[in-house]
């Protein structure tokens, strides 16, 4: 299983702070597509993805047990 953490507007859009996918060895791009088709998270295109708390490119691979986070444009400070 891969846990996908949601924050800010994506968390509100999904109505929850975490999604779970039964996947292994898919790319960041593929995971984003699944989020989009299954949960209709339209702003996901603007989000970065972190794998185990580090930003990852679209072609990075996600394995079982990884913690993934969708990071909408940040606005701290």
């Amino acid at each position: 299983m891969v846990n996908v953490l949601l924050f800010a507007e994506l968390q509100e859009a999904a109505g929850r702070d975490q999604l779970t996918f039964d996947v292994d060895g898919i790319t960041v791009k593929q995971l984003k597509d699944q989020c989009l088709s299954t949960y209709h998270l339209e702003n996901i295109d603007y989000a970065m993805v972190a794998i185990n708390e580090e930003y990852a490119e679209e072609d990075a691979l996600i394995y079982k047990g990884d913690t993934v986070a969708l990071i909408p444009p940040v606005s701290g400070g």
Binding site: F7, I71, S75, G76
Partner: protein, 157 residues
Amino acid sequence: MEKNYWITHQPIEVNDVIQKVVRREAGAISTFIGAVREFTDGKRTLYLQYQAYESMAEKKLAQIGAEIEAQWECAHTAIAHRIGTLAISDIAVAIAVSTPHRTEAFQASRYAIDRIKEIVPIWKKEYWEDGSMWIGDQKERVSYLRGTPSEEEMKNG
């Protein structure tokens, strides 16, 4: 507190942040405080809500500190960011950088706040009289992977 980089639900004591960078070789300490401003582009803010991906945010704050210490000799950095509900004038972020001389302290502390706005997973939601919105860089994609903010990003207030 042992950490130099932390996310907190409590009010930030600026002095706690400053104390972490006091050094015998430091002649200059530049601090930056980001506070909740009442008016933005003429619109009145009632309060803010900050959310963070806490564990990753602390790592990214520490990364910014490491970038500073690699770029400016003898620099020491501490950063605290508050999350939760903040009222007008509450401190959202406090940064302190100490260096031997003043030029580097100013540069590094400016660098820190610019990088926070670029790579640290923290989000703010503004609440106005007529609604609320999560704030972010909705118009442009932000490149989180680059090492240094662009000139243009450095100029934005």
